[in-house]
């Protein structure tokens, strides 16, 4: 079979997001990841909830299920349990995955089901016309918060780690250079690969990530971590992270004045506490937003365990009926003549 191209992964439906929406770039990155990785159309299943982002399955030429609001992880879990050979992707948004669907996200991560969750975080409810979401910055003015939202915005990666997520990553919609390898890594991971994508909503929350994406100044505000590499960032690659003296804290330092790259903290994607700290960065001035794979730790995949104990080879109908007959007779039986 010839390898499929990006185009092969596109369905024949017109893509119907707003012109300029960040979703386009993520769709493309996903299609490219699948094509490059040699995925087949028939073994790929994309399940989503409801939201602008959750329309994505319609634009894929694979199998797809546009389910109901917040519940995609549950359908995905059932499908994967039934057929572990499927490559299952869950596409969700900050509303779909963290507001109504926060519980299922928790449990799919905790169980570590072998599938990928791509959470489009535009910090707003797009499809319902712009209400603030659980990830919106405090003070966000929206139709439902005309005076500014009161709640603290949730950090999806911090939440995913708290929920026991074993693969936690963050990317930016238009930075395919980071996004694609991360999607690939998530796919390769045996367990739930959780990828938060910072995604621009041109209509209701335009430009909130501009600072991070700016070709010129963006590098001063983002840090791309890679396992085993020192945590250096900045336009001039002159900034980095170190562990605070007390432990359990990160500080931004500027290189030079005797401080060299070797003195910086090296990323260890197996240290969950470090990952928690990295995930939390970016809230205060001067802190970079960390992208890349924050945490990866391959323990206890669920589906394998849950299927353990099933017959090694599928039973025929007759074998099943025979076993059922035997099971029914584990209780005492008697004959009436």
């Amino acid at each position: 079979m010839t390898k499929l191209t990006v185009k092969d992964f596109a369905s024949d439906l017109d893509v119907r997001w707003c012109p300029g929406c960040g979703d386009y770039a993520v769709l493309k990155a996903l299609q490219k990841t699948l094509a490059d990785g040699g995925s087949t159309l028939e073994d790929t299943l994309v399940v989503s909830g409801i939201g602008c982002s959750s329309r994505l399955p319609y634009y894929m030429a694979t199998y797809g299920f546009h389910s109901i609001h917040g519940r995609a992880p549950t359908l995905a879990t059932g499908a994967k349990l039934a057929n572990p050979d499927l490559d299952v992707w869950v596409v969700t948004g900050d509303g779909d995955g963290l507001s109504i669907g926060g519980n299922h996200l928790l449990h799919v991560l905790r169980r570590n089901v072998d599938l990928q969750v791509v959470l489009f975080n535009n910090q707003i409810y797009g499809l319902t016309k712009g209400q603030f979401s659980p990830t919106s910055k405090q003070g966000t003015k929206s139709p439902s918060s005309p005076g500014g939202s009161v709640e603290t915005g949730l950090n999806p990666c911090v939440y995913a780690l708290g929920a026991g997520g074993q693969f936690v990553a963050r990317c930016i919609d238009t930075q395919a250079k980071v996004l694609q390898p991360v999607l690939e890594a998530a796919q390769a991971f045996k367990g739930t690969g959780f990828v938060e994508v910072l995604q621009n909503c041109v209509i209701y929350n335009d430009g909130i990530f501009d600072g991070l994406k700016d070709k010129k100044t963006g590098p001063d505000h983002t840090l791309h971590v890679e396992h085993g590499k020192p945590m250096v960032f900045g336009v001039n690659r002159d900034k980095g992270l170190r562990v605070a003296k007390s432990g359990f804290g990160l500080e931004v330092v500027t290189l030079g004045d005797g401080l060299k790259e070797e003195d910086l903290l090296v990323h260890d994607e197996k240290n969950v506490h470090l990952a928690q700290a990295l995930a939390a960065l970016g809230e205060n001035d001067g802190e970079p937003v960390v992208i890349g794979v924050l945490y990866r730790h391959g323990k206890h995949e669920f589906v394998e365990g849950a299927r353990h104990g099933l017959p090694k080879t599928p039973l025929s109908r007759d074998e099943k009926l025979n076993r059922l007959n035997a099971t029914l007779r584990t209780a005492e039986t008697w004959r009436v003549e």
Binding site: I50, P57, F65, R71, A82, N83, G309, P311, R317, W334
Partner: protein, 629 residues
């Protein structure tokens, strides 16, 4: 499908009792929830069933996990009707009551018939226990019990005495008093205890001293009946075997039968079963039973909540398994949004509701049939789902098989209604001949051919769409909850398409209706003065009362619905043969309302929402009201 319903009528061969005094005995064993009452009761049921009697049981235990001992609300009881005729109900009153403490006596004495046998464990009638039970004076002394044949026995003491030599601690010895009691009751019913003995050896295979202690107690109780000089008025019960249809039997409760039936149905459809659920009383045993079927290839999944449970089942169905989910009323409520998705995506899905008392948390451990409206109507949109109901424990198996047939043939979710009573009650059950006759395979064909494949093209007869499973080359398609274009299945906001799809969804139920076996009469003629129309677990009491009335020559029949929605097309015509119809149900008139809408005639209902099945006399009263006593 027609044949399946013959199963029920096969039971019709059992005779009706014309002399209740001698044909069956209703016994109730009651004590503290720590006393092992449920175990005792179910062993007795097993023995009676093995002996060849017809039996009906009603386990009734507190909602609390371990209620404080000695209190009324901590009383656990097991009622059992043992007959040489058809029994079907556990009895309006009992012929014998075994009360292991004062609270049990207090709670159930009112339901012991005048002149009934009353066995009490005298050792437990301490002052403190009497007080806890709310007795101002000792009922043994103040004449309260003079209407009954009282047999006070120091059961606790006799049990510990019997075990004195065995070496077990006094505490452990006391815990054997249920076995002592069971031994005595076996004697009372002229039953041998060998069945219980081998069961005990099996159960405590790893704890030989405990096995030995229980055996000693059992034998001592049995022996006591033999050797103690019991008062003359204490006679043994002589209940001959019932003329059951020949075959191999076991006892089964509704939850077990349902789980096995669903597995059998999936197997006959050539599908793997997937059960996604979240624990809830009284449906949890379905999950427990499925979990044990793993070696048979069944997958079970304990989800984080009911929404995840149905979501996982829909996902599994999409991936080609038979998705099943089960719960009880409040849990079903949480599934209703996803049920709409299952209807929209036209996937097979089985939803079992083991009903309990509502509204809200209601009476979680008590039975009721009040989720019929929810099953038939409880969704947003025009969202038709077929509903089918089981009427007794063994029927759960057959209903499950039929539900799988309907769901896969028509590509639709389907509701099965069971309830807390039949879920927990044990009844003798003739083991099915799997693979044959009523249980012949009905293999499902999944789509494989890309040529002309349209995911939302409907079979003109069954109104099923093709089942195209991820992993199949060339059939890639997208489904979802937004309205789909007929045929291709793409999102469609078109008004005419929506009208057509709404009609297709409705027509699917018409297709199911066309396929149903014609509604028959359960007992009685096909015309007459009165038809009692029942559904679900009210089958037992309605049938018993109707058959007795028929024996007395009354023009009454019993029509029992398995198919609640759609209704059998001939139902209206059938019921036109009756001057009046009355619907007794354990809710406030739900089927009655539905029938009023569908039959276009007055349909009075009689409601019983008391957390227990109808009594036979309550049904008899209805008959007498209409026809005259």
């Amino acid at each position: 499908m027609h044949e399946t319903s013959q199963e029920a009528t096969a039971l019709a061969d059992l005779p009706v009792s014309q002399t209740p005094e001698v044909d069956f005995v209703r016994i109730r064993i009651a004590g503290d929830s720590g006393d092992g009452i449920q175990l005792t009761g179910s062993r007795l049921a097993e023995s009676a069933a093995r002996f060849g009697n017809d039996i009906a049981t009603f386990p009734d235990f507190p909602a609390d996990i371990r209620a404080p001992s000695g209190t009324i609300y901590g009383v656990s009881a097991y009622s059992l009707n043992i007959g040489e005729t058809e029994v079907l109900t556990f009895g309006d009153v009992s012929d014998a009551l075994v009360a292991l403490n004062p609270a049990a006596l207090k709670k159930y004495i009112g339901e012991l018939k005048i002149g009934g046998l009353l066995i009490i464990d005298s050792s437990s009638f301490t002052e403190r226990a009497l007080e806890k039970a709310g007795y101002a004076a000792d009922p043994r002394a103040d004449g309260t019990l003079s209407d009954f044949r009282l047999l006070p026995i120091d059961i606790t003491e006799l049990t510990t005495a019997a075990l004195r030599e065995s070496g077990v601690s006094t505490k452990d010895a006391k815990r054997c008093k249920n076995m002592w009691t069971l031994g005595l009751i076996h004697w009372l019913f002229e039953r041998e205890i060998d069945g219980v003995e081998s069961w005990l050896k099996d159960k405590f295979a790893n704890k030989p001293e405990i096995a030995e202690a229980n055996l000693l107690a059992l034998r001592a109780g049995h022996m006591y009946g033999e050797v103690a000089e019991l008062p003359a008025e204490i006679s043994r019960y002589h209940i001959a075997p019932a003329p059951l249809r020949s075959g191999e039997y076991r006892t089964i409760n509704g939850n077990e039968a349902m789980a096995y039936g669903l597995y059998a149905g999936a197997t006959l459809a050539d599908l793997d079963a997937f059960y996604g659920s979240y624990p809830i009383t009284p449906a949890s045993p379905l999950l427990h039973t499925f979990a044990k079927l793993k070696e048979l290839g069944a997958l079970s999944f304990q989800a984080e909540d009911e929404i995840a449970a149905i979501g996982s089942a829909i996902g599994a169905s999409y991936a080609g398994h038979l998705g099943i989910t089960g719960s009880s009323g409040p849990g079903i409520a949480l599934k209703t949004e996803a049920l709409g998705l299952a209807v929209a995506t036209e996937l097979p899905l089985i939803v079992v509701n083991v009903q309990r008392g509502g509204p809200s948390t209601g009476l979680p451990t008590k039975t009721e049939q009040s989720d019929l409206f929810q099953a038939v109507f409880g969704r947003n949109g025009d969202t038709p789902i077929p509903v089918i109901a089981a009427s007794h424990p063994g029927d759960c198996f057959d209903v499950a098989v039929e539900a799988v047939k309907i769901a896969t043939k028509h590509m639709t979710p389907i509701f099965i209604l069971s309830d807390g009573y039949i879920a927990n009650a044990a009844a003798p059950w003739r083991l099915p001949d799997l693979g044959e006759g009523d249980y012949a395979p009905f293999p499902v064909t999944k789509a494989t051919d890309p040529d002309g494949f349209l995911p939302f093209k409907h079979d003109p007869e069954t109104l099923a769409r093709p089942w195209a499973v991820p992993g199949t080359p060339g059939l890639m398609h997208r489904i979802g909850g937004l309205e789909r274009e007929e045929g291709r299945g793409n999102i469609s906001y078109d008004g005419d398409n929506h009208q057509r799809m709404t009609e297709i969804r409705a027509a699917k139920l018409d297709a199911i209706a066309r396929d149903l076996p014609p509604q028959t009469v359960d007992s009685g003629g096909t015309s007459g003065k009165l038809a009692l129309v029942g559904w679900g677990s009210s089958w037992g009491p309605i049938r018993v009362a109707t058959r007795r009335a028929i024996l007395k020559g009354k023009p009454v029949s019993h029509v029992h619905l398995r198919h609640i929605w759609p209704l059998p097309p001939n139902l209206k015509a059938l019921l036109e043969g009756f001057d009046e119809i009355v619907v007794p149900e354990m809710n406030n008139g739900q089927l009655a309302t539905l029938l009023r809408a569908e039959l276009g005639r007055p349909v009075p209902g009689v409601s019983c929402v008391k957390g227990r099945p109808f009594l036979v006399r309550e049904i008899t009263d209805i008959i007498n009201d209409v026809i005259g006593g």
